[in-house]
Symmetry: C2
Subunit: 226 residues, 2 copies
DNA sequence: CGACCTCAGATTGTCGACAAAGTGTGCAAA
DNA sequence: TTTGCACACTTTGTCGACAATCTGAGGTCG
């Protein structure tokens, strides 16, 4: 999903995507005030489309608006991330269970190939953490699609996915869980291939739970510093 | 939630609530085109705030927008409702499990009292189905709050409940599952009181699954007619 | 010296008008 | 009659300006 592919038809959608990108990559700091006039000027558009974009982002939980006081970038505090990972555990677990029943053999094979690609990228070592993270999200998103539950895909894809990327960007320089994560991914694909939905769900839940514990430690360290 | 209590500060928020209400109650039919100018006039405001409201409703999945072609009320087809109930099962099950650990004894007692009120209302028989439905949603929402997971509360409260209310309004005249539902609610409260999260989750999942089967039958009948 | 009030400055909320895209109708030609 | 095209009309997308609200600096009074 290259950021330069901003070929949305309406300016409001363009603004939504550009803002989301800036927020996720940390270009706009957490808690930062978002001035409508300033952003509108920067993006070369009026305030109308920008306001619509802000509303949209509010729905995605990337910004928080308060009437007559403007919009600020959301701050990912510990509680919020804990909540996010909790919900994700339930939702992605469910996605796995459904995917085990719904995905075609071909799709599951492609999922395995995706992991091969990740492994190669990791071996190449140079693979930036960021790219690796994106790959990980790809994996999760493909499983969400495999569930065939459109609401689940939307929930995991359009909304939580962005928050997750934001979290990753913040913690990526510290966490190096890529290898164990890859192994867990492999186990999940195997369970899917065996059409063992229960096992796939359990593995995914553990995988996410483990990721949260890892993230949680990082946050602890950061808070100790502060 | 009286509809006359429209004391939101911004017009966009007012429009959001009024539109949501009109959609949920079926005053605006499913699939109906939403003309910006017409609605703006009816609500006595400009098109700007109304457009923001439309964006917001799009995030809530109550309307579907397509660029340059306007907004239409979402249509609740069978697949979508199936997806909704599936997600709800996972989410509300999770809420129950957390609530069993997080709610105070007092809150659980209040939940029981809420059910007493529902029972009285059912006995009074006159209790309109609509009111009963609202009561049911109250119950579910209180449990979501009991989970202390804010993201979960938002997901269940702000978005899915509206769709659910919409679904209820459409099927309410046919489904009379209030008594068994009340019984299941009682069992859930009991599990919560015993701090048995696993049982509470299982009971809630069954409760929702049962509700879906009931709704599903109604849809079948409606489709046979058509 | 501190608390409170006043009054600009800045920012958000709202409106009306214009531009662009889409839609439908009617006429002409095959 | 049917197909295709052109034109007018409707509706959405966007902009600039004005009104309402909030913020903060400065001064005044206790």
């Amino acid at each position: 999903m290259p950021s330069s592919l901003t070929q949305q038809s309406t300016l409001a959608d363009q603004a939504t995507h550009r803002l989301a990108h800036s927020i996720v990559t940390g270009e706009l700091a957490q808690g930062q005030k978002l001035n409508e006039a300033e952003l509108a000027e920067r993006y070369g558009m009026g305030r109308g489309p920008l306001r619509e974009a802000l509303r949209h982002l509010e729905g995605m939980r990337l910004v928080k608006r308060t009437p007559n006081a403007g919009a600020r970038v959301v701050v990912l505090d510990r509680k919020m991330l804990a909540d996010l990972y909790g919900v994700r555990e339930a939702l992605e677990g469910m996605a796995c269970r459904l995917a085990a029943a719904q995905m075609s053999d071909d799709e599951i094979a492609q999922l395995g190939a995706l992991l091969d690609k990740h492994e190669a990228q990791i071996a190449k070592q140079g693979g930036k953490v960021y790219a690796q993270s994106e790959g990980d999200l790809d994996f999760h998103f493909q499983i969400a699609r495999g569930s065939r539950n459109h609401m689940l895909m939307d929930l995991l894809g359009s909304e939580q996915y962005q928050l997750l990327r934001m979290c990753r960007h913040r913690t990526s320089r510290l966490a190096q869980r890529t290898l164990p994560a890859l192994h867990q991914h492999r186990q999940i694909v195997e369970a899917l291939a065996n059409r063992d939905g229960e096992l796939a769900e359990m593995l995914m839940r553990r995988h996410i739970h483990g990721a949260w514990r890892s993230i949680s430690e990082i946050i602890d360290k950061e808070e100790q510093v502060a």
